[in-house]
């Protein structure tokens, strides 16, 4: 005989119990029904239509907590300023890509919307922060690990009690390692503010070695807190531990800034090193040749609207040709007749610089022209939370080294380079060996000017392009050439980079204006001791 006297009754009771429990679950624990969510949204929309930012803040909270399936999309649209109120029928609409409009609540595509009747729902900075937090909270439950990771990272640093509870709940279910780590770090940072010193100590242990500035700020406050000495000591230890790393990264950063400033100086000066070095010609129009290169970039962008990368790459050879041709013309028409007369050359080229500036003002515009950067040039490369390198400066440093290498190859490996070096070392001997020095002069000037044009392309990505662009760089170019040694490419490279680094090292201490003055004074003193510069030309006849 079976143990259970009434087997059918048992199962029936069990299934009845199960059903009752399910019904109870549905009725009492389901947080929200579809009608509740829609009602919340409708109330929120009414609040959004007003002018008070406080009301709009309440609306954002309502939308976030409503649990409606479209709440994330509505909040994202509000953040991007794509949420509008239709003045005709008081509906709230979302603007999609492609200028389509959909009803915010139902999602149906609307036809024939009169754009003039739409009033954008404006937000301010505080609302933006609030919406981002709300979106991050919604993202915590996303099925994608990368989305969850981004949400946790964006909320790190300001995790309140409610979010802490949510984080702990997510931690229990989380399987992705990176997200788990991020959750632990965020919780540890929040626990640094806990009332219990034991919790604080554990939290400090967990964040030791982390360079994040928010953590450092909290540790600094804990160190000052004399009411909890054990915590203060632990905080001080943690801070001392990362002190060396912080100094190291700060030095790297200053070095990077200095190298990027220096690479700009090198690019501007390297053309001058050749013309000044080979022919001893003081070319005051060098800055304007740089400016012509920058304007060539602008014109290429105008010719090819929408193709920023292609136009930028094509602008490099174009600028070389434009400025190089301008240089050859200047040499053939003016400088050729003034060899051996440096003062007259200086005056004549100064006049040419004024003519070129006015030419650009008349033909194009006296105001600055906009040159856009391609997408890959914006943004930063984050090495860690204290060291971030901007992409545009990284590319400029690489570009400078490329140009330098190319120029060295031209000078060392080509025939023209050989002749240029011969003429610059000993003109009379070179002519005796059959080198046509007049032709070499013209080509050298063209080469130097062409490089100036290429420098202009690089500068157009960093600074304003206007007729006065050349004036800002001519003095610096001469400084670099004189400091580095005339006629020597390595001198220009080392001189330019070191001047850039020196400028950036001084800047935080003395301010931008005084830093420049100090660098100039230093060069003057250096030239007194070593008039030929860092790397003077070798040879008995050199430097005559």
């Amino acid at each position: 005989m079976s143990r259970c006297l009434y087997p059918d009754l048992h199962t029936k009771l069990a299934s009845l119990g199960l059903m009752a429990w399910l019904v109870w679950l549905l009725l009492y624990t389901a947080p929200v029904t579809a009608e509740d969510a829609t009602a919340d949204l409708t109330t929120a929309f009414e609040l959004l239509k007003g002018r008070s930012f406080k009301d709009k803040g309440e609306a954002v909270d309502l939308i976030a907590q409503s649990g409606h399936e479209r709440s994330k999309m509505i909040l994202a649209a509000l953040l991007a300023s794509h949420l509008y109120k239709n003045k005709e029928d008081e509906r709230i609409v979302i603007r999609e890509t492609g200028k389509q409009y959909q009803d915010a609540l139902s999602g149906e595509l609307l036809e024939g919307v009169n754009k003039r009747k739409l009033k954008r729902i404006t937000i301010n900075n505080q609302l933006r922060g609030q919406i981002r937090d709300a979106l991050a909270t919604l993202d915590l439950a996303s099925p994608e690990a990368t989305v969850r990771l981004a949400a946790v990272k964006s909320m790190t640093g300001n995790v309140d009690e409610a979010s802490q509870a949510r984080f702990r709940a997510s931690l229990a279910k989380e399987e992705d390692k990176r997200v788990k780590e991020a959750l632990l770090t965020a919780l540890a940072i929040a626990q640094l503010d806990a009332a219990d010193p034991a919790i604080r100590l554990t939290a400090i242990e967990q964040v030791t070695g982390n360079l994040d500035p928010a953590i450092r700020a909290k540790l600094a406050r804990l160190e000052q807190d004399s009411s909890q000495p054990a915590v203060a000591k632990a905080a001080k230890q943690a801070l001392d531990g990362i002190e060396f790393k912080l100094q190291l990264y700060a030095t790297f950063e200053t070095l990077f800034f200095g190298l990027s400033l220096g690479s700009v100086l090198v690019l501007a000066a390297i053309g001058l090193a050749i013309t000044f070095g080979v022919m001893g010609v003081i070319n005051m129009a060098h800055g304007e040749l740089i400016m012509l290169g920058a304007y060539t970039t602008y014109l290429m962008q105008q010719l090819m609207p929408g193709y920023d990368e292609v136009s930028l790459l094509l602008a490099i050879p174009a600028a070389f040709l434009v400025s190089g041709t301008a240089g050859i013309i200047i040499e053939r028409t003016v400088i050729r007749f003034l060899y051996g007369r440096p003062l007259e050359t200086l005056l004549a080229t100064f006049g040419i610089s004024l003519i070129l500036q006015q030419l650009v003002r008349t033909l194009i515009s006296p105001q600055n022209v906009p040159v856009s950067n391609p997408d890959w040039m914006s943004g930063t490369l984050e090495i860690n939370s204290v060291l971030a390198l901007t992409y545009n400066r990284l590319y400029i440093i690489l570009f400078c080294l490329l140009v330098f290498t190319a120029l060295s190859l031209v000078l060392k490996r080509t025939n023209l380079g050989l002749q240029v070096r011969a003429v610059s070392q000993n003109r009379a001997m070179a002519r005796a060996m059959g080198v046509r020095s007049a032709r070499v002069d013209a080509l050298t000037f063209g080469l130097g000017s062409g490089i100036a044009g290429v420098a202009g392309v690089a500068l157009s990505q960093l600074t304003n392009v206007g007729p006065n662009l050349g004036q800002s760089y001519i003095i610096d170019s001469f400084m670099v050439v004189v400091f580095g040694g005339v006629g020597n490419l390595w001198g220009t490279l080392v001189g330019g980079l070191s001047l850039g680094v020196a400028n950036k090292v001084l800047e935080p201490w003395s301010g931008a204006v005084l830093a420049k003055i100090l660098v100039l004074v230093f060069i003057i003193l250096f030239i007194q001791k070593r008039p030929r510069g860092l790397f003077p030309q070798k040879g008995r006849a050199a430097g005559d």
């Binding site: 930012f53 300023s81 404006t122 301010n124 900075n125 505080q126 933006r128 922060g129 981002r132 500035p213 928010a214 700020a217 909290k218 600094a220 406050r221 950063e253 200053t254 800034f257 990027s260 400033l261 700009v264 003002r361 006296p366 105001q367 600055n368 906009p370 856009s372 950067n373 914006s378 943004g379 930063t380 971030a388 901007t390 992409y391 545009n392 400066r393 960093l462 600074t463 304003n464 206007g466 007729p467 006065n468 800002s472 950036k504 800047e507 935080p508 301010g511 931008a512 204006v513």
Partner: protein, 432 residues
Amino acid sequence: MKPLQAPIKKLMIGVAAAAVLGISSLASATDTIKVGILHSLSGTMAISETTLKDTMLMLIDEQNKKGGLLGKKLEPVVVDPASNWPLFAEKARELLEKDKVAAVFGCWTSVSRKSVLPVFEELNGLLFYPVQYEGEESSKNVFYTGAAPNQQAIPAVDYLMNDIGVKRWVLAGTDYVYPRTTNKILEAYLKAKGVADEDIMINYTPFGHSDWQSIVSDIKKFGSAGKKTAVVSTINGDANVPFYKELGNQGISAEDIPVVAFSVGEEELSGIDTKPLVGHLAAWNYFMSVDDPANDAFIENWHKFIKNDDRVTNDPMEAHYIGFNLWAKAVEKAGSTDTDKVAEAIIGLETPNLTGGTAKMLKNHHITKPVLIGEIQDDGQFSVVWQTEEEVPGDAWSDYLPGSKDIIADWTPPISCGNYNTKTKKCSGQNY
């Protein structure tokens, strides 16, 4: 004919011709009233000032369509001082002595205004100055239609402190008199409100500065100490473009560290991509986005005149609009373009501004203006997030600097002085 009659005939024809020419040139000289326009059309400030020249041409054109002033047509005289401060003084002298203009509308940077101040006082000319400035000045010959610090800088700092909860401050400016004086006032104001020394960072850069890497990185570090930080920017001219670009490149968003600028308006933003700048702020007395019928009409006229629907309007343009209208009213009230008569007639006159209110010319040569704070949108326009209910009267002498607290400017008799000390009852005269 007798041999002597031919040359005499020629002589007489010549004299007659000269007389006719002379009379006609005299006639045309008295037929127009000349108005000088002294704005940089090239150089580092051209980005801001060129549009003001165009605004003046439009206002003069409209006034001529209404029949001119005192029955005569207005004739604009445009000169280009090219962002060169000594050249401003030369061009001002040229306008007053050679062209004999009745009034000059011009200048932007305070250094340009300080350069022309001695010229206007020596030659007793009239200057209408349309740009926000640092105060600490009031001249018999200058009418300041731009904001004084109490109409722009102080309300902006109040907004950041009270509405945003800012606790750490970066005061970044270009290295000349306006940012230096404004920062002096703001530093005194912040300290009076209890902000500690280590929570204020002050920084100056030259005009046209383009390498913002280390400064922006310092701002980032200063702002990551756990307290809400904001940047108060008095950076002028085209240095703003690489500054904002660097902020965007280093990932500083307006929600982390908002930047409120005093010299950046729709015109400076019109050439750059403002998507990375959304949320950064500016404090002015007018924005193109203000919803008002007078503003709509002004913008429509402007687009028709300049034949370009993409051109924007900004606060200094509204200041010229107000200044020009006040000047025209004063000329008609005085019945003459003589400087002293116009200066006397203009005090107390009112004219509508473009945000739905009225601007009144006060005894200290400043006007009443509302204060608006706007956030940059992705189309280069501003969305107003805060404004005063009433117009604020301009105060030339800041109440927060110990040397200026007791000084007032009052050009009406019996005081008739720009720097009158109410405690010692003495007029200290203009200090250049």
